[in-house]
């Protein structure tokens, strides 16, 4: 123990170098320069600065956490040193650039970048200033770590919300203009960035809300738990009605662009619910899931198109059940040959199935029917009482309805016998069979229901775009949906929605940073899996499962041990008192 009480120079060195290398990388690939043009807080803070200094701040915070407990001095020194060291790679870059023109090797090391890194103060003064900035930042981050939780948490939530509003200021300004007029919008936002006063206000408001919630939240929860079942039920119905109303008026609040984004989120969430059944519930890794999406979309296309290739010119509503049925059939067809396969083998076979469908759609063989690379055009929009749902904020209701149906069916099934059968197969296929579960039926049902949801999503998608092309149905869709349910939390229904918001909604909203979108996406996935492997909103069981081992590590952790002690006693005495 004495060892950990001492100052360990390796900690700030390690953390500082990691932070420095990250900061260097984001500078050298051009992220900082590009994003420096985008102000979060007008005149004060650019997104480039946030990206540049995020790693030093985070690593200093972590370094402070590694300091011996109750030794605030060392924690602050760790933070300070981490910050200081993290500036060194950047300083090296600045100095090196003085000696040789780095631009021939690294095209992004432009005068603009150097200008940002030195804060426009020249080589020597600028380098020193940079070191001071990161050191102070490290010191502040370490200080933040040392603050008690009740102060730290509001600060964090204030920072996060301010960042959030700054990030989406353009959308915010658009909404404000619609509801309160141009003048008000200009008062809040100045050329894409929050005005400093507004940023401070947002910070204060969100931080105080956080304080309020942490103080009063438990009381409110307690009071709710104390209520009798009748008023609890009333409360629940109230919440449900509120939720439904919100969902119904959402397009009015969101406007056209956000409604369009919302539609994509809903269509992907609908697919997510389907894949969640196959992968999350039944544990059958399906990488060719996009095939059913394509089947649904092309069935819709062929049945309702009024173009050259349309056969029936059906209405959207008439075609929907057929699309679902055809995709289900596709699910059964895929399911049949792969019943005996497990894990990786299953993944590869389904991957092949997805490719077969995509190539079939592209092929000359089917070109006379579905158009090959030229695609299928003039697909019907849904019509309700004579009104065609053309605009995104109208179409929203169709996507919402599909999504709600899928969520409802998934929820009911997860609670039912079929859900248990799937879970049992996921846990141990041999034993599940030995318990009398018919593997063939159960697995085929998982494939078929999953495919039905994807088919529905495909049909809605086709009708939304009114024209479909083979390249919309590539492997990336399967992977994206899979990532969605992993990020959201396997087997968790709210997780699917969160996953869709995070992996479909966010990239859509971050289009202005097109070049670095996928890089961010990848980094977010990696960080996510390291920090929260059970997903954003894990199903209750999965959460317990992944955190059981955490508790085992701390043998003197009283709360972890207490339930075990309880369980052991009756366990030992069991049969004797039967």
């Amino acid at each position: 123990m004495s060892e950990t009480n001492n100052f360990d120079y390796r900690i700030p060195l390690q953390n500082g170098l990691i932070a420095g290398v990250v900061a260097l990388s984001v500078s050298v690939i051009g992220m900082v320069t590009l994003l420096a043009q985008r102000y979060l807080i007008a005149g004060w803070l650019t997104l480039g600065q946030v990206i540049l200094f995020m790693a030093p701040a985070a690593m200093s915070y972590l370094a402070a956490g590694k300091a011996p407990q109750n030794n605030r001095g060392i924690a602050l020194i760790y933070g300070f040193l981490t910050g200081l060291i993290s500036a060194l790679p950047l300083v090296a870059l600045i100095l090196l650039n003085e000696v040789i023109d780095l631009r021939q090797f690294l095209p992004n090391v432009s005068p603009a970048l150097i200008e940002i890194l030195t804060f426009g103060r020249g080589t020597v003064a600028g380098s020193l200033f940079l070191i001071i900035v990161t050191s102070v930042l490290g010191l502040v981050a370490a200080g933040l770590y040392l603050l008690p939780d009740r102060i730290r948490r509001p600060i964090f939530s204030g920072l996060i919300w301010t960042f959030f509003f700054g990030m989406f200021s353009e959308i915010l300004s658009d909404r404000l203009r619609t509801f309160f007029g141009t003048d008000f919008a200009k008062l809040i936002i100045e050329s894409k960035a929050l005005r400093p006063v507004v940023a401070v206000t947002i910070f204060i408001v969100t931080a105080s809300l956080s304080v309020l919630w942490s103080r009063r939240g438990d009381k409110v929860k307690g009071r709710m738990a104390k209520m009798d079942t009748k008023s609890q039920n009333r409360m629940r119905y109230g919440l449900i009605i509120f939720g439904i109303t919100l969902m119904l008026i959402l397009p009015l609040l969101l406007g056209t662009y956000l409604s369009e984004v919302m539609n994509m989120i809903l269509i992907f969430a609908l697919m997510g619910f389907g894949l969640n059944i196959v992968v999350g519930f039944a544990g059958l890794l399906d990488l060719g899931y996009v095939a059913f999406f394509a089947i649904g979309a092309y069935t819709m296309g062929v049945l309702t198109s009024t173009g050259d290739l349309g056969v029936a010119g059906m209405s959207f509503w008439l075609a929907i059940p057929i699309c679902v049925a055809v995709s289900m059939l596709g699910g059964l067809l895929l399911g049949m040959p792969v019943l005996r396969m497990r894990g990786d083998y299953l993944a590869i076979v389904t991957l092949g199935f997805g490719e077969i469908i995509r190539i079939l759609v592209l092929s000359d063989l089917l070109k006379p029917y579905i158009g090959g690379a030229q695609g299928l055009l003039k697909i019907n929009k849904p019509v309700i009482v004579g009104i065609p749902l053309i605009k995104p904020d109208q179409f929203y209701y169709v996507a919402l309805a599909g999504c709600l149906i899928a969520a409802f069916i998934s929820y009911r099934l997860s609670q039912a016998r079929l859900g248990r059968q799937w879970m049992a197969i996921r846990e141990d296929e041999d034993v599940a069979e030995a318990m009398g579960i018919r593997l063939v039926n159960t697995k085929l049902l998982a494939f078929a229901i999953g495919a039905a949801f994807a088919g529905l999503a495909g049909a809605i998608f086709a009708s939304k775009l009114t024209s479909i092309f083979p390249h919309s149905f590539n492997l990336l869709i399967s992977i994206n949906v899979l990532c969605m349910i992993i990020v959201g939390g396997m087997g968790s229904l709210p997780g699917v929605i969160l996953g869709a918001l995070a992996l479909v909604g966010l990239p859509e909203l971050l289009r202005e940073f097109a070049e670095f979108r996928l890089l961010m996406y990848g980094i977010v996935l990696i960080v996510m899996m390291l920090a929260k492997p059970e997903g954003l909103w894990p199903s209750a069981i999965r959460k317990r499962e992944l955190h059981v081992h955490d508790n085992e590590d701390y043998e003197d952790y009283p709360e972890a041990m207490a339930p075990r002690a309880e369980t052991r006693d009756p366990g030992l005495e069991g049969p004797s008192h039967l």
Binding site: F408, I409, R412, L413, Q415, A416, R417, L418, R420, Q421, M423, A424, E427, D428, D430, V431, A432, E433, A434, M435, G436, I437, R438, L439, L445, I541, R542, R544, E545, V548, P563, R564, T567, R568, P570, G571, L572, E573, G574, P575, S576, H577, L578
Partner: protein, 267 residues
């Protein structure tokens, strides 16, 4: 009246004959043990009975119906349930869910009824949960229904596995080393429990067991396997003094009473 008859059952893995022309019979409400050294083919025989393996030769009849060629789920539905040597509960499911899976063959409603929540479905599900709770209490795990099964202590997992097997209301229960890894006190308790099970529920029990105290204390008949073949069968008293059995367990020297016995047993 025998409820299970196996005639000349043979199971080969490539050149290895794991079970060799094994004849076996068990009567209604009997408790019979199969014993034998490690690798004698006991668990392989269980796997043939439950359809996990298909026997290469021989017939297996259960209540007059052939077991050969049937899948494990069909065999379970006929009334044979089993537990495993190394516990195989569904780890990430709660205790209650484990038992509900065991009850599965008896449940009738389809998934469509579950989606629209028909009365029949709600009623069946309520009854199933009540039955699962009853079973949980019966095996001595009252109040642990909501725990994840892999968080339960070892002994409790064994009992949960037993409750899961009982949930299908079997006629014949196959127990693969039910007392493995238990201390003498726990083994004795388990032994009483198995007897009680038979008396309470009138089911037939076939077990594989290594703990001789348990085997001798509980079995009405014992069948001994060595290298896949049956070497003898009889009451516990008969088995204990059978020279073939002693030889199989302790080596040739022990059976003939030579002085090198101690070393051989150690080896």
């Amino acid at each position: 009246m025998a409820i299970l008859t196996a005639k000349e059952v043979t199971k080969r893995f490539g050149g290895l004959v794991a079970v060799n022309k094994y004849d076996f019979e068990i009567g209604a409400e009997e408790i019979v043990s199969i014993i034998g050294p490690n690798g004698a083919g006991k668990t392989t025989f269980f796997n043939c009975l439950t359809g996990f393996y298909q026997a290469n030769e021989g017939d297996m009849l259960f209540l007059g119906q052939r077991l050969n060629g049937r899948t494990p789920d069909q065999i379970t539905r006929m009334g044979i349930a089993r537990t495993y040597q190394n516990i195989r509960v569904f780890p990430a499911m709660t205790a209650i869910e484990n038992i509900l899976v065991g009850e599965d063959p008896r449940l009738k409603t389809s998934w469509i009824e579950a989606v629209i929540k028909t009365k029949r479905y709600t009623k069946e599900e309520e009854e199933a949960v009540a039955e699962a709770n009853r079973l949980l209490e019966y095996v001595g795990l009252t109040g642990m229904g909501d725990q994840l099964s892999h968080n339960l202590p070892y002994g409790a997992q064994r009992r949960l596995e037993l409750a899961r097997a009982l949930a299908s209301q079997p006629t014949l229960l196959l127990l693969d080393e039910p007392t493995a890894g238990m201390n003498p006190h726990e083994s004795a308790e388990m032994m009483h429990f198995i007897k009680k099970l038979r008396d309470d529920l009138g089911i037939t029990i076939l077990l594989i067991e290594h703990d001789m105290r348990v085997v001798m204390g509980i079995s009405e008949r014992i069948s001994v396997l060595d290298f896949g073949s049956k070497i003898c069968e009889g009451t516990p008293a008969e088995i204990q003094c059978n020279p073939n059995v002693i030889e199989a367990y302790l080596g040739r020297g022990a059976a003939t009473g030579l002085s090198e016995t101690p070393e051989k047993t150690v080896a």
